[in-house]
Symmetry: D3
Amino acid sequence: MEEDLGWGDVTTDSTISIDAKIKGFFISKEQGVVCGMEVCKRVFELLDSSIVFEILIKDGQKVQKGNVLAQISGNARSILKGERVALNLLQRMSGIATAANNYSEAVQDTGARVVDTRKTMPGLRILDKYAVQTGGCYNHRFNLSDLVLIKDNHIKAAGGITPAINAAKSKLTHALKIEVEVETLEQLDEAIEAGADIIMLDNMSLDLMKEAVQRVKGRALLEASGNVALEGERSVKHIAQTGVDIISVGALTHSVFAMDISLRFL
Amino acid sequence: MEEDLGWGDVTTDSTISIDAKIKGFFISKEQGVVCGMEVCKRVFELLDSSIVFEILIKDGQKVQKGNVLAQISGNARSILKGERVALNLLQRMSGIATAANNYSEAVQDTGARVVDTRKTMPGLRILDKYAVQTGGCYNHRFNLSDLVLIKDNHIKAAGGITPAINAAKSKLTHALKIEVEVETLEQLDEAIEAGADIIMLDNMSLDLMKEAVQRVKGRALLEASGNVALEGERSVKHIAQTGVDIISVGALTHSVFAMDISLRFL
Amino acid sequence: MEEDLGWGDVTTDSTISIDAKIKGFFISKEQGVVCGMEVCKRVFELLDSSIVFEILIKDGQKVQKGNVLAQISGNARSILKGERVALNLLQRMSGIATAANNYSEAVQDTGARVVDTRKTMPGLRILDKYAVQTGGCYNHRFNLSDLVLIKDNHIKAAGGITPAINAAKSKLTHALKIEVEVETLEQLDEAIEAGADIIMLDNMSLDLMKEAVQRVKGRALLEASGNVALEGERSVKHIAQTGVDIISVGALTHSVFAMDISLRFL
Amino acid sequence: MEEDLGWGDVTTDSTISIDAKIKGFFISKEQGVVCGMEVCKRVFELLDSSIVFEILIKDGQKVQKGNVLAQISGNARSILKGERVALNLLQRMSGIATAANNYSEAVQDTGARVVDTRKTMPGLRILDKYAVQTGGCYNHRFNLSDLVLIKDNHIKAAGGITPAINAAKSKLTHALKIEVEVETLEQLDEAIEAGADIIMLDNMSLDLMKEAVQRVKGRALLEASGNVALEGERSVKHIAQTGVDIISVGALTHSVFAMDISLRFL
Amino acid sequence: MEEDLGWGDVTTDSTISIDAKIKGFFISKEQGVVCGMEVCKRVFELLDSSIVFEILIKDGQKVQKGNVLAQISGNARSILKGERVALNLLQRMSGIATAANNYSEAVQDTGARVVDTRKTMPGLRILDKYAVQTGGCYNHRFNLSDLVLIKDNHIKAAGGITPAINAAKSKLTHALKIEVEVETLEQLDEAIEAGADIIMLDNMSLDLMKEAVQRVKGRALLEASGNVALEGERSVKHIAQTGVDIISVGALTHSVFAMDISLRFL
Amino acid sequence: MEEDLGWGDVTTDSTISIDAKIKGFFISKEQGVVCGMEVCKRVFELLDSSIVFEILIKDGQKVQKGNVLAQISGNARSILKGERVALNLLQRMSGIATAANNYSEAVQDTGARVVDTRKTMPGLRILDKYAVQTGGCYNHRFNLSDLVLIKDNHIKAAGGITPAINAAKSKLTHALKIEVEVETLEQLDEAIEAGADIIMLDNMSLDLMKEAVQRVKGRALLEASGNVALEGERSVKHIAQTGVDIISVGALTHSVFAMDISLRFL
């Protein structure tokens, strides 16, 4: 907020009288899943508690081009000052929710869940993750302290999958799950043997994934990762049909199309 | 940073010994314009001042798939902890710089400049604006206090373009420029008459823009805005050829494709 | 606030009962222009939202010795704790507004504006600048990012006035004005030629200023600076009568006489 | 610092090359007592640790017009960015130290000490108090928690001097002194009787002060307060000669003349 | 608070519906002196201003096992999120108040006061000191700036008790008291002679303390310190009976037994 | 740190010369497990980077009365200012580590682990948890976001153990474990059936715990909680011998005996 206001909004303060009132509408300019309405409302409340912001479409609802999402009225200066920050957040969060919704629908007849990753913008993670949920996908871990995720580099440094898992088990709280990233079926077997709770299949072919599902027989959760798309050969739907439990998609939060939403005044 | 580390990186702390060393390379996985190398270096320095981060490709240089951008070596725990944050910033900033470079090249034989807008992510504006410059475009104003930008809503509230400009001139410091957004040639004439320094042509057709350039004859800067694309009928190049001085493109910072860059360890 | 309270106001907490009520008046002890009443009210509100603070004289009004500026009532402990901070701010801001009013009145029959400078106390700039406006003067730029102000040292380093202006124009946003500080008429000519928006006449004699006004003929704003006083040979009035547009006075905010205002309890 | 830089110093960044070096001198433009050299050095160090700032005149030394106080050299951009903040602090602190020095010299043949008050600018108290010491005066309490100072309003609320002192003694730590403000000799007697450590004689005539000194006979410290000037009937010297121990002067920090000091580059 | 919530309370958010209501009681599980009720109320208010928290037992009252201290009702998610932080504070503060009460009662027929020390946990000092008062003891100084406390190490460095006291007197504000730590009666005599306000008898035997009281005859306050217990040979009561004014007990805040208090829901 | 220094250490600053040097030793006054040496070193480094702090006994080592833990030398003022904060942290952390060590040794021949709880002091959790590890025990979860812990109140609100677990599974990330608190064997069966990862046996008798171990047969981790002591009928050893996996002990961090450690100067 401060970042945007600097020393104040010189245009608004000089051209709009201090007690002018204004009324406006947030309107979708394309179809998508709305997300961020409460955050948007909060932005205006923080700026001026007398602003009335009425939410007409709740987070998670689908809208078409031209729907009225919310109605705002109150002091003109305050509303014009908050406009840009509110729209930026609303457009980004709705963009994420819309993408998440597409992925979610693609896997709906399978048992798989689509999850996000830690590839979020610094400072915005909690909002990004909320938008993912709103669109019907799930969150992976939030940060580096709520899951043990042993990747290639950890395995190298620890001297193998088994020693890495053993090290984690002997030093850490029993309350955390342990996930291991594997690239081959041999590594998969070793991880299962060593007691991993979740196994990430990194960039595996669809055939190998099917084989992995057969071998594991529910002894651990299987997560597919890498090069997941909405359409095509390696679509999220095809991956889901291999029988994996989880499919992680970094693009959900790191390549975001802002949804087009505008604020129109009467 | 804190956001990502939470209570610490449990995986790294349990599987990697406290004094293990590691060496790795930042590699581009697609072509583009690199941006954020210094920021990336700073992230690691803040985490552990003994990390050696050698920049091989400076901000602003074009790279192909497979180029080595930087080399990092030092304590394995520290490097693995900073990896995600550093990559997120580097990928976003390089994505913006690459897009800016495309726009910049499209107008290079005209006298026009492409500029960004305030449509940036909260908290990241200074980095986003830097990436725009790195790609060869220019920054518009930074915040609401460094330019008077009179838009439709201000004009309505002030009772017309002339009263709005007069109000700004009589109340504000002489050190700020005044920009007015217009939609018709009549408004353009009125803004020129009232002494605007910059005039924004909002969503005007190419023909109207040409006409505007004729009328103004250098008495103010003309800025084209709205629905600007890289290709097609209304491409940035076609707009530049109308003779306008400035073309503002919101998409530079609000619909960002992260450039694919990875960190590989030996 | 914290700075003043430390671990708490031991005197008030030990000698005044926790629910004692008190009523008092802010009274001017000398004539001047009042400024800071809203800030003062805010200080008490932050301390204790149940305090009733009624403003009787608004910011910008002139008062004589003995006028009642505001009435305060509420919890005695809270009021006594906020007293010192509130009075310090009110006395300083009213002191600045009073000085600004004197300067403003001195130029009122000319076309010139008196403006302040960046010579404010760290942390108080926004309040100081507001007090300047309240007294009838104008603000110059707020900080180093909202105007290009090329001074002697920049000119030396850039290799002359023309290269300095060209550098600024080619690298910076079109949205900022460019001001150049000159000491001679030759420099003035060069600055005009290079396209400066504002020209600061640094410590020039009255005669040279008149000559400068003739030469420029409205192509740029002229700002007089240096050794400006209320009275005497080089008074603000005499300078204004040379025809310059702007007169900047550092003393407005960097040598402040606190106006004598006290808080009297019934 | 941030307040002054905003989004960056656009003038310096566009006109000065990134690796230009500069060398300059801080010079006194009038006589006075220098204060703030270390703070000034720190400002530049925080901005750019490679700046070399050599202090030639230490805090507390008297200078004449034209003395060189310090020499600075290093990156031109960094130095120009810090210039204004450094000079504002140096000018204010030296102004305070100079005034404090005048007061201190006026009482030097008496046993009295001149002290400051809490009338400082918010955020700057620690620097203001340091400047007072540098000029040869003493500090009164720092904040509301390190001395019990019972004033008129506390006495009214507590039902008299004796009950107020008793309340403080029974509730507070033994480690704090108790000061009482009195206006008459009867109140003085009551305060002594009740065990006050320090007694403030508020706006008393010189004759009454002498009488007070006689009565108290060293059983408490006596502090004169109100309308103290450097010259005239009620000068600090005359007050000191009555035999009081302490003389508090609010003007030391609340009506400050900035000392004229400039930064000249080669 | 943040420390405890991390990214949110995943259990509560997933198992309790967003508008569920709950009602509960804070109940003492052992006898003691209650302290922290207002702080506890504030914790919940900050979390959710619609929570109703009714205090039934005020800070400072003694309770038995099974007493209901407070009643809370409101949104179930909010209450469950604040539970742990509120209980931790309430249990610690009541533990301190209970210990303070035991010490206070032990000296109640003597003229001595029991005081705490600076041995508090970082960040919690103001709450710890408040709990000490609530239990009937007194606070010593709050921090290093509100009392001159000359200890063994200062004496060594300054070259003796007299030079140390003289240094403090000549450099510091008159508003602070001076306390000196002594180990022998010779040191005691020197401290009295040099004008100490308070003298700390460090680890002296009961007999030496009695002797010290005789010698000082009220010219300074005497403080006993070191190895004070509730019971036994060197009990606080025996020490108080020697006639010293102050007894400082570090254990009050640095070895705390949390009082057992629970929150039971209907 | 700030909390302790207030406006500065008036004693040290007035009695110790600004360049005096000092050397001292940290000495244990009783036996225990040392913890906090690195934190202690960091406190002094932050205060004055020229202080030399040599750790002689590392965190986790057992010491006897009279052992020298560390040696410190450097500027006397800086060392004396940091003394209290450093000792408070060292004493508390060593107290916790010593207690943790006693618990850890008591269960060493069983397969059980002793873990802490969230009952830590606000602001100190990360240090408290580290001290627990240092003494040989384990950490339970860090905060409310890294484990689903379904307690009595959640079960009531969700309508039973099964619906509560199902709600958590359907809404939350797959990356978190689910723990349920049970009081009877029937609840235990239900929790196992519903797929809990960890089951907390709340205040169960030793016989019931043995029975629980039999029934669960390794399908979930079992955690004993409530009224755990070092000695007696319900000692941590007896509980461990029932075969449970985890024993949680709140007293580890919420009723802390500071270990007696002092700083002696030469």
